[in-house]
């Protein structure tokens, strides 16, 4: 008999009071009993609406069936058929707008906790599997992947499974892209990212760190001089946006990218780290996306009183609901319908406050969200010694500026067809480098699509 409870089995978490002082993972993961009970909530619908909501089309009902049988390795194998990073997706995918959104159980009650089950299966596999990975037989064809974030790793994994000799070039000293420098340890432990990359290594994928493609080597050189038959560009959207308001270059003003990179990549939250970070007492985070939530929650953990300043209301917040809830539980204040107009500093050029205006919502704009407009004479100051700008990012122009004929749109995103093919022969692209800042799973989907297209392209040659 299926479990007809209207609610998901709750995810065990560290208490808010405890976790807002440490960087350990917030969600602790299902126990086996939780997982079995949750799996019983799946009705195994014939038309599998959940699968259609997944950018990489994980065969969800089938893996859940394996969980019911306690065949967790079997469940893992089903997920791994289509997803190269199950332990990552189980944690950071916005399931509520993807697979779980389409779940029949969600019509009356909560959908099946697909993400939680995926995480359980992946963690089980990582903890228990000692089966050696069989490296596929090489087909002798070399493919270069630029960027080791979710798009690049997925593309690399899929191509390696097909026998291609894949080299991933990473600009930083550590692979993982946004999984390493952006998403904090408490949402995605770095040991998990390392493990996923290690398993790609077993498939024969080589990762070359410290290689800034566009500077040290161009795409042209990779193809002409180093024998790569195709190139996938998954270089992400690395360039932080600022508001261009007065005072943005004061000391204590960070882009979310810088703040998070110092913390996640350089471990600045640890005393022994050789990279500094300002431990603010009063921190203002500007923006309402997942990155803003991450930055705010990091600042909280460094001991600050944190305000998120967002120009619309809670209903329009682009961040995942779960992240917003976690942030609120951890004691972060949401100052809504508010927009900064000026950052003020002391005589030593350190931030001491942010001047904001009140906003009200007007008719929807091009994005379909209500357009915020300034309420006249509504200026007020918020005290702050650190300000973090989490306004989004745009694609890095380095690849474009060093690749002849590579077309980009007016946001700097590389133009591709639906299979990831760019305007340059043998060059494919996907993820944030194409779309601008989006989600891990969409990037993975793009990496997967491009891998298929690259395989077809090289098979024709």
């Amino acid at each position: 008999m299926p479990n007809m409870s209207l609610k998901k089995n709750p995810m065990p978490v560290q208490s808010a009071e405890e976790r807002n002082k440490n960087f350990k993972e917030v969600a602790l993961g299902y126990t086996e009993a939780d997982a079995l009970s949750e799996a019983e909530r799946c009705l195994h619908c014939k038309n599998k609406p959940c699968v259609s909501g997944c950018p990489v089309m994980v065969n969800i009902p089938e893996f859940i069936a394996k969980v019911k049988e306690k065949d967790y390795e079997g469940a893992y194998e089903i997920i791994a058929e289509t997803s190269s990073l199950p332990a990552v997706c189980g944690r950071v995918c916005p399931q509520e707008t993807q697979c779980e959104k389409h779940c029949i159980r969600g019509i009356k009650g909560e959908p099946v906790g697909i993400g939680r089950l995926e995480r359980f299966v992946a963690d089980y596999h990582n903890a228990h599997c000692d089966k050696p990975v069989v490296k596929p037989v090489s087909n002798g064809k070399k493919v270069a992947v630029i960027g080791s974030g979710p798009a690049g790793l997925t593309c690399a994994g899929d191509l390696a499974k097909k026998g291609y000799e894949v080299t991933v070039f990473e600009a930083l000293h550590l692979a993982g892209g946004v999984l390493s420098y952006g998403i904090p340890e408490f949402r995605l432990p770095k040991t998990i990212v390392a493990k996923e990359i290690e398993s790609l290594g077993k498939l024969g994928v080589k990762v070359e760190t410290d290689m800034v493609i566009g500077k040290v080597l161009s795409i042209n050189e990779l193809i002409r001089e180093y024998g790569f038959k195709a190139v996938f560009v998954g270089s992400g959207a690395g360039l932080p946006k600022f508001m261009n308001i007065p005072g943005e270059n004061l000391n204590g003003v960070y882009s979310a990218n810088e703040f998070l990179t110092r913390i996640n990549l350089m471990k600045a939250y640890k005393d022994e780290s050789s990279t500094p970070i300002k431990h603010g007492k009063k921190v203002v985070v500007v923006g309402g996306g997942n990155v803003a939530m991450d930055a705010a929650r990091c600042a909280k953990r460094l001991g600050a009183d944190v305000h998120i300043v967002y120009r619309r209301t809670l209903n329009e917040l682009p961040a995942r609901k779960e992240e917003v809830e976690h942030a609120m539980e951890e004691g972060i204040t949401f100052t809504l319908l508010t927009n900064p107009v000026k950052i003020n500093g002391d005589d030593k050029r350190w931030v001491n406050s942010v001047t904001c205006v009140k906003m009200q919502l007007s008719e929807p704009d091009a994005s379909g969200r209500a357009r915020p407009v300034v309420i006249p004479d509504s200026e007020f100051d918020i005290e702050a010694d650190v300000v973090i700008m989490a306004l989004g990012t745009s694609p890095n122009p380095l690849i474009k500026s060093t690749t002849d004929g590579l077309e980009v749109n007016n946001h700097g995103g590389i133009i591709t067809d639906e299979n990831g093919k760019t305007s340059v022969t043998a060059v494919y692209a996907g993820g944030d480098a194409v779309t601008g800042a989006a989600t891990v799973i969409l990037a993975m989907g793009a990496g997967k699509t491009a891998a298929k297209a690259i395989d077809e392209f090289l098979n024709k040659q």
């Binding site: 932080p240 960070y254 810088e258 990179t261 990279t275 890095n396």
Partner: protein, 280 residues
Amino acid sequence: MFKIVSRKSLNPTVTEMEIYAPFVARKAQAGQFVIVRATSDGERIPLTVADFDREKGTVKIIFQIVGATTYTLNTLKEGDSVADFVGPLGNPTETAGLKKVAVVGGGVGCAIAYPVAKKLHEQGAVVHSIVGFRNKDLVILEEEFKNVSDKYVLMSDDGTAGEKGLVTDALKKLIDGGENYDEVIAIGPVIMMKFVCRLTKEYGVKTVISMNPIMIDGTGMCGGCRLTVGGKTKFACVDGPDFDGHEVDFDEAMSRGASYKEWERHKYEETCNLFSKEIK
């Protein structure tokens, strides 16, 4: 890991290292920089390319021991390796068309000024090098500069090397004496670049400076290196490191450069203590 092929002390606080990094050596040009991590748990710091040998596949860096990271880097010996060596980053110094240039270097900034002087000399330009140090013990690259300069003026704060005075005194004297420069290229402490620019602005001589701000990735990702140039925010790592000195907000740059000073001093002392304990 990138091997340290050779290493020498240029003065008590400045060290030169030649690093085997063939990919970087193949592309490096004067004015560009690399990001270095001394150890696998270390900080990422930008250091300007001081020289390169494309055939040997090596790149030279010259650094002053100013904090914990450079202290740690300085403990590495010939044959050891640095954990990371990324580059070449930033844009090369523009030298095309220049026929007569004053290259002004201050302190360890001379390590960056030298490859620029060398490049100008190699393209047939008249090069006047004006270099300044606090005292004679800190003078570096004297022979190297002399070899690529039509005129070499050495200045020191206390008069123990060359003439007593600042590089701006020497530059003013040359310009007043009738030297007409297409451009002044000034590389050194921000305060020095600020005063060189103040001087050359009076004389209407175009001046290019090289910024060396706090950076993490060096690829445009963090924005930590931002500065105001002509009223607009620029990233030193991707838009520079060279900028029109008459447009740069130096006071802002100085303050941003010092934002972790307290922390750095503390970390430096901690690191020094750690190493001295290990020696005991």
